[in-house]
């Protein structure tokens, strides 16, 4: 027997949890489902320094507060549970969740977030945890006194490259373009750090080594010249892709796989809203995810009210 809710939120990152806070506070029966840890990518942030009103908190800590807030208003939150099917068509949406059962609701909010972008190289998987890392604060001390590489050119890449100089002897930033996407202050900080050097306009094509990583092979995108940079570690900060591939043919996605929404976070399917990093937008921050979640929940509440009046 399916369990009926007013709203089903898929994804328990900041967007999904915020939506749940608003929905549950509006006394709507709400369930939040996530296939991983509650908190989403927020959990991967060692310290959140720019979330207004909260000074110095870990991403996991902020996630815990948001979760507790949603639960305190009556939302049910299920982590580590796979959505095995979603039928968003029609007035009553159906979501099947592994080991939990079938849920229905007139409203679904898709807050499925993003997944770390990978280079897609076989050797990347082989050296994960054996030289390749995605977290400077977690793994930086393994590379004390060693030469390492940072791949990427955004704020995360440049900031983490500088922070890794606390441990590493040298940090070479390898970037695919001839300019950085990071903010000017992050670029300036990296440029003035003596242990940091740059290799621009490159395509990383391989990671090499025996038991552990020993070098990063990259190719100059203009000349085609190949170089192997000796490195015991490689930290990859090359952004995120929206976690939406499974939503293809259910809601409209753009060419980057992001969910297309209007100003009320409504998708092209009535009763289905989207919020956070999975939707098409320029800036992806915890604060913007929280904003999306708020708007989606308010719009969903209005949608439900309209349905009841009919």
């Amino acid at each position: 027997m399916p369990e009926r809710f007013d709203a089903i939120v898929i994804g328990a990152g900041p967007a999904g949890l915020t939506a749940a806070i608003y929905l549950a506070r509006a006394r709507l029966k709400t369930v939040v489902i996530d296939n991983a840890a509650v908190g989403g990518q927020m959990n991967l942030t060692h310290e959140v320094a720019n979330y207004p009103g909260v000074q110095g908190i870990s991403g996991a800590g902020l996630a815990r507060v948001m979760k507790n807030q949603a639960v305190s208003f009556g939302a049910r939150i299920i982590g580590q549970a796979d959505v095995t099917s979603l039928d968003p068509a029609g007035p009553e949406k159906t979501v099947e969740v592994e080991d939990e059962g079938v849920f229905t609701a007139p409203v679904v909010i898709l807050a499925t977030g993003g997944l770390p972008r990978t280079l897609g190289l076989e050797s990347e998987a082989r050296f994960k945890g054996r030289g390749i890392s995605y977290c400077a604060t977690c793994d930086g001390d393994f590379f004390t006194g060693k030469d390492i590489v940072v791949v990427g050119g955004g704020n995360s890449a440049l900031e983490e490259a500088v922070s890794l100089t606390k441990y590493a002897r040298s940090v070479k930033i390898i970037h695919e373009f001839d300019h950085f996407q990071a903010h000017p202050w992050a670029i300036a900080e990296a440029e003035k750090t003596p242990q940091v050097s740059f290799l621009m306009n490159q395509r990383v094509v391989d990671f090499v080594g025996k038991e552990g990583l020993e070098g990063v092979v990259s190719v100059d995108k203009t000349t085609g010249a190949s170089v192997t940079v000796p490195a015991s570690g490689a930290f990859l900060f090359i952004g995120y892709v929206p976690n939406t591939s499974w939503l293809k043919d259910m809601v409209e996605l753009n060419e980057r796989g992001e969910i297309v929404v209007d100003q009320a976070m409504a998708t092209n399917v009535p009763g289905v809203f989207a919020a956070g990093d999975a939707r098409a937008k320029r800036y992806r921050q915890i604060t913007t995810a929280v904003s999306d979640g708020t708007i989606a929940a308010l719009a969903a509440t209005e949608y439900l009210t309209t349905l009841q009046r009919k």
Partner: protein, 114 residues
Amino acid sequence: MLDTNLKHIDSVEKYQGMVKSGQKAAVVCGRMGPMCIPVYGVMEALEGKYPDVHFYDMEFDSPTGMKTIRSLPETRAFNGLPFTVYFRDGKVVAATSSIQTKQQVKAILDDKMA
């Protein structure tokens, strides 16, 4: 002690007892950091689904961690937290370094612990 709902291995004696018992076990050796917390969550979620497997955590920076999981030949080349080691019949049957998804952990449990 790590703030998880897993059973803790906090002494070399407990570790040796676990190995000697021959039990099926997964030990996550880490810190309370961004790459480790999701793995503890995965293990907590799977604990009820694999009743014959024992799920433990261990503090990476403790003397116990240094003398046991971190000293295994299987983790020698690891440099990504957490170190997760799977035991069966007193032997290491799998070991992973860095964050793992539920699907990746399930794949190991289904393959090595079934």
